[in-house]
Amino acid sequence: MDLVYLIFILILSIFLGFELIHKVPATLHTPLMSGANAISGITLVGALVGAGSEGSAITITLGTMAVAFATINVVGGYLVTDRMLAMFKKKNKGK
């Protein structure tokens, strides 16, 4: 892909990120952080290509390690965020 095109995507995404997170209430700072952290595990996608390639033993070993670490990040991150968010309750709900 064209480099300029990738940089274009990068800049737009950064602006979008700023706009999205701009006014998150303090109550949600921890889940937001841990949810965003899970998204940063997207690097898993890159790791999959390495681990599943026909490359050398080193490439595959490193790729597999990357898959394992990124999966911990993704699975653990989403589950722990969900667990936290399940605890956030409004008043008079279910009482």
Binding site: M1, A26, T27, L28, H29, A66, A68, G76, K89
Partner: protein, 454 residues
């Protein structure tokens, strides 16, 4: 070619799901759904990547995914809510090392241009710093390492040197990619840099560091995205990078300090000699505290890291219910940097079933502070220190605080008169309307509950 198109279309959908996920995370009512939507985006991105023609052998992938899922699930299920800051730090570190490894793997591609090599170097640098930095943060938060800042002579010089040498190493790596030495050196230097930048940062500054590392993990994924020419990594990575920067900025503002000051000053290390405070503290027994609380019409609870340490969130909630039954209004005032990560207190109180609409942010509670009969300070110190308002020479001068001293009376639940994290005396303790209830916060609160029940 058609599978390439399909993959990229699916990535676009995944990116949209991430965006909606983050958007929904912005409101308590929709946050849980938002997290699920973002997880679906991740699932879609992973599944469709497996269709990629470059992926031939699924055995190793399966191994990595199974191992990672088991560890991730167990960690997420078993971790105690009080251990959440270190858990988040650890997950973050794993994201960092994954990006570092992806950068290394990207080296095996054919047709590496200088630009690709540069992005590979950047994913190694940022990934490495994120990994070891997060590990140190994890160690500090779980008290496996000393939480106080570790400082020594020439530290800044050494760090600046490390960074410069690392960049030099990056240049050589791009110029001579066939020499693996530069790669290894870059990995080692990045790892060292991560350790060196986090050890001088003290416990109370951890909210800043965690959000910054969170941002780095996104940027590392972003760099890895350039290295392997994958746009979903770039989009998702930069979304996370941007959100981390915003959180970092909010945390810094809440401490009235610049990011550079947090990272390099070793704040709270030693000198707390900013003037002795004249006056006497007035201790109070649990029984007397009970009589005041029984008569109170409105109470504001101001929790801090000490509440997390004493695991007192459940007894706090019990006391809140008893007070409410007694016809008293109870709210919680939460300082943005109370605790060890952004939103730490909110999570703990949510665990204890405190409805989130009772948690009031600093800027909303301060104008109402005079109307409260009692402010109960539980394990908070610097965030209620009036020196930040009144003593221009104080290291925390200018930091926005919760004006607990404006309440009609202030109860401070504290083990002893030891100063807070910043090593500062707290003039609040010496105020005429302040009463110190010494002892373990949890026991004091249990004592109050017993008084109410009897």
């Amino acid at each position: 070619m058609s599978s390439d198109l399909l993959i990229n279309l699916a990535y676009t959908v995944a990116a949209v799901l991430f965006i909606f996920g983050l958007k929904f995370l912005g409101s308590p009512a929709t946050a849980r759904r938002g997290n699920t939507i973002s997880a679906l985006g991740m699932l879609l991105a992973v599944l469709v990547t497996l269709l990629d023609q470059a992926v031939i052998d699924y055995r190793w992938i399966l191994l990595g995914i199974v191992v990672g899922s088991i560890i991730g699930t167990l960690a997420a299920r078993l971790v105690a809510m009080t251990a959440m800051p270190e858990m988040v730090a650890l997950f973050n570190g794993f994201g960092g090392i994954a990006s570092l490894l992806v950068g290394c793997v990207a080296l095996s591609q054919t047709g590496l241009t200088s630009f690709l090599l540069l992005t590979i170097f950047l994913s190694i640098l940022i990934g490495g710093v994120t990994f070891t930095g997060s590990l140190v943060a994890w160690g500090k938060l779980s008290e496996k390492l000393p939480g106080r800042p570790i400082l020594f002579q020439g530290q800044r010089l050494l760090n600046a040197g490390l960074l410069l040498i690392n960049f030099g190493c990056g240049v050589l790596f791009v110029l001579y990619p066939e020499q693996p030495f530069w790669l290894y050196l870059a990995v080692a230097l990045s790892a060292a840099l991560g350790v060196m930048t986090v050890i001088p940062i003290g416990g109370a500054d951890m909210p800043v560091v965690i959000s910054l590392l969170n941002s780095y993990s996104g940027l590392a994924a972003c760099a890895a995205g350039f290295a392997i020419n994958n746009n979903i990594l770039i989009v998702a990575g930069s979304l996370v990078g941007a959100s981390g920067i915003i959180l970092t900025n909010i945390m810094c503002k809440a401490m009235n300090r610049t990011l550079a000051n947090v990272l390099f000053s070793g704040f709270g290390a030693a000198d707390g000699a900013a003037g002795k405070i004249e006056g006497e503290v007035t201790p109070m027994t649990v029984e007397d505290a009970y009589y005041v609380l029984e008569a109170a019409q409105s109470v504001v609870v101001i929790p801090g890291y000490g509440m997390a340490v004493a695991q007192a969130q459940h007894v706090v909630k019990e006391l809140q219910e008893l007070l409410e039954k007694n016809g008293c209004e109870v709210v919680y005032a939460i300082h943005p940097v109370a605790g060890r990560m952004p939103g730490h207190m909110n999570v703990l109180l949510a665990e204890a079933d405190v409805p989130y609409d009772l948690l009031v942010e600093m800027d909303d509670i301060n104008p109402r502070m005079e109307n409260f009969d009692v402010a109960i300070v539980i394990g908070a110190n610097d965030v209620v220190n009036p020196a930040a308002r009144e003593i221009p020479g104080s290291p925390i001068y200018g930091m926005p605080i919760i004006n607990a001293d404006y309440a009609r009376s202030v109860f401070i639940l504290k083990r002893s008169l030891a100063s807070g994290f910043a090593g500062l005396d707290n003039p609040l303790f010496y105020r005429k309307n302040s009463r110190m209830v010494f002892g373990d916060a949890k026991e004091t609160l249990s004592g109050l509950i017993r008084e109410f029940s009897s």
